[in-house]
Amino acid sequence: MAFNPFDFQKQMFVEFEKTMGEYLQKTMRDPEFMKLMARGMEGAMDYRSALRTQVEATFKTLNLPTEESQEKLFQTLHGMETRILDLEEEVQELRQSVLQGVQALSAATKALNDLRDGLRAASAPEEAGDERPSPGTPGEEAEKPGDTPQKPRENPKSGPSRSSKRGRKSGGSRA
């Protein structure tokens, strides 16, 4: 069988990876290992807390801003930022409401204007009728379409007129 050192190395690496993986997975699920890690973390946290307490005390002595004071400052700033964004949203909503109100008002105004125009158009023939010649003016008749033809009146100077098809009101017999 042909031998290649690189193949051999690759196989060794893969086997190492597999074995190490299995061992570490098993180790990390071991309760004893977890207890050890928990104690280690606790120790690290205790040390860090002690260090922080010392640093805070030193900063306070030197009248320098501590972590706590900086946190409070950040919280105040964040509160202000949130409030500004809330107000911005409220303004946007108000603007939207006003815009909708204006649009509704505009539509209502237009509808009223349309109604007014319609009413004006409907009352316009009555106004036009006042300008025409009044009934009784000699020789003149109303000629508006649809109008009932006016009966011609007798002219007292010209003698009895031929009776119209409608007849005369006096009812005199014809010659």
């Binding site: 069988m1 042909a2 031998f3 290649n4 050192p5 690189f6 193949d7 690496f13 893969v14 190492f16 990876e17 597999k18 190490m20 993986g21 570490l24 997975q25 990390m28 699920r29 977890m34 207890k35 890690m37 928990a38 973390m41 606790e42 946290m45 860090r48 807390s49 922080r52 972590e67 900086q70 946190e71 400052l73 950040f74 919280q75 105040t76 700033l77 964040h78 930022e81 949130t82 964004l85 949203e89 946007q92």
Partner: protein, 373 residues
């Protein structure tokens, strides 16, 4: 030409030796390559909508109008950088949803300041996520949003939707991607976080906000030989540019954690990992009224990965048991790892659009079409 003998494969040795030399020659450029990949991460153009404290809300730019009427708000996890949702071109959930016609927004949690140390989950949901939802609705001119949460972001999106169900009802559909619901599972995280192993009060009281190093030093131990595997893969495939691009981007993302807000971390460990409140009580207790799973009545798509070692799939799928009478709950699990659904990759690392297509189709079936101008 060296002849192959029965005891020594000279040809194969020569090829491997050349490869080894090539690897040695490429190592000085490794850092430069890594930085070049970093510049290409999070490629999808976007603009900031608002910023509040450390949190930034973005809207992704679209070349054409959205075809889906309801905007999509993506909620990433707080543990790592949110650019896992937009890692590289072609490996981006955000890009995929934009291509499929969605108006996409994303809420990035950022690095918490000292002033955010005492903020709890309720603040994060009602203030940050609530404002993001309202702003997305206003910008998209809709009466609701679709929420898509990834990992812990999935859990947060689920809880927000539960709160919203009793309130303004602005969440129309919910997608949870590898979001843990049952925190007591076979995974190592669940084991490490047990009360007898982990005094979270002591840790949070000492650190304040949990430093990024806390996670970057502990997460690799979830797969202890991960660094060995990475070294081997880089050696074997360093000449494959496409592989190295993806590999380096993931390496940058995986090793550059973000700090975690202190009291929020305390709450997740205690109520999630130690008390497992969603399973044991059916709700996540909050000062202003708990987020009850039973209140959820919107369509939910719950996705999990079969090979997920961070949020094991049975932990995500538990949602089916917790709300059995839900009118529209679809649970799916794919042959993928924890990152597969975000990156569009299966467990073998091959690209697939299956997850994104299914998410998009599911959402489109439950969202109105966008109004045409």
């Amino acid at each position: 030409m060296p002849e192959q003998t029965a005891s020594f494969d000279a040809v194969a040795f020569q090829a491997d030796y050349q490869k080894f030399l090539g690897f040695l020659a490429s190592t000085p450029r490794f850092r430069e390559r890594r930085e070049a990949v970093r510049q290409r991460m999070a490629p999808t153009p976007r603009h900031e909508v608002f910023r509040e404290h450390s949190v930034t809300f973005y809207r992704y730019d679209r070349a054409t109008p959205a075809t889906v009427g309801t905007p999509l708000v993506v909620v990433p996890s707080l543990v790592n950088m949110p650019n896992i949702m937009d890692l590289l071109q072609g490996e981006s959930f955000v890009e995929a949803m934009l291509e499929r016609g969605f108006d996409v927004f994303m809420l990035e949690w950022g690095h918490p300041t000292a002033g955010q140390k005492h903020l709890d989950l309720e603040f994060y949901l009602r203030t940050y996520l609530g404002r993001a939802v309202r702003r997305a609705m206003r910008l998209a001119n809709t009466d609701g949003v679709n929420l898509a949460g990834y990992c812990l972001g999935g859990t947060m999106a689920l809880l927000y939707a539960a709160l919203d169900a009793r309130g303004a009802k602005q969440v129309k559909n919910l997608v949870t991607m590898v979001g843990p619901v049952n925190f007591e599972d076979r995974g190592l995280l669940s084991w490490w976080a047990k009360e007898e192993h982990f005094d979270v009060d002591k840790v949070v009281d000492t650190y304040g906000n949990m430093p990024a190093e806390f996670f970057s030093s502990s997460f690799p131990w979830l797969v202890p030989t991960a660094n060995l595997t990475k070294a081997r893969m880089v050696y074997e495939r360093h000449e494959d540019e496409a592989f190295m691009e993806s590999f380096l981007a993931l390496d940058i993302w995986g090793t550059e954690n973000t700090p975690f807000p202190g009291d929020l971390y305390r709450e997740f460990i205690k109520k999630g990992y130690q008390q497992n409140v969603l399973v044991n009580q059916g709700e996540w207790p909050m000062k202003g009224g708990g987020a009850r799973l039973a209140d959820l009545d919107i369509p939910i798509l719950n996705l999990s990965g079969q090979f997920d070692h961070i949020c094991p799939f049975e932990s995500c799928m538990k949602l089916d048991e917790l709300i059995p009478d839900h009118p529209d709950l679809t649970s799916k699990h794919y042959p993928a790892g924890h990152l597969g659904i975000a990156l569009g990759k299966d467990a073998a690392g091959n690209r697939t659009t299956l997850y994104w297509d299914e998410i998009a189709d599911w959402l489109k079936a439950r969202s109105p079409a966008a109004a045409t101008a």
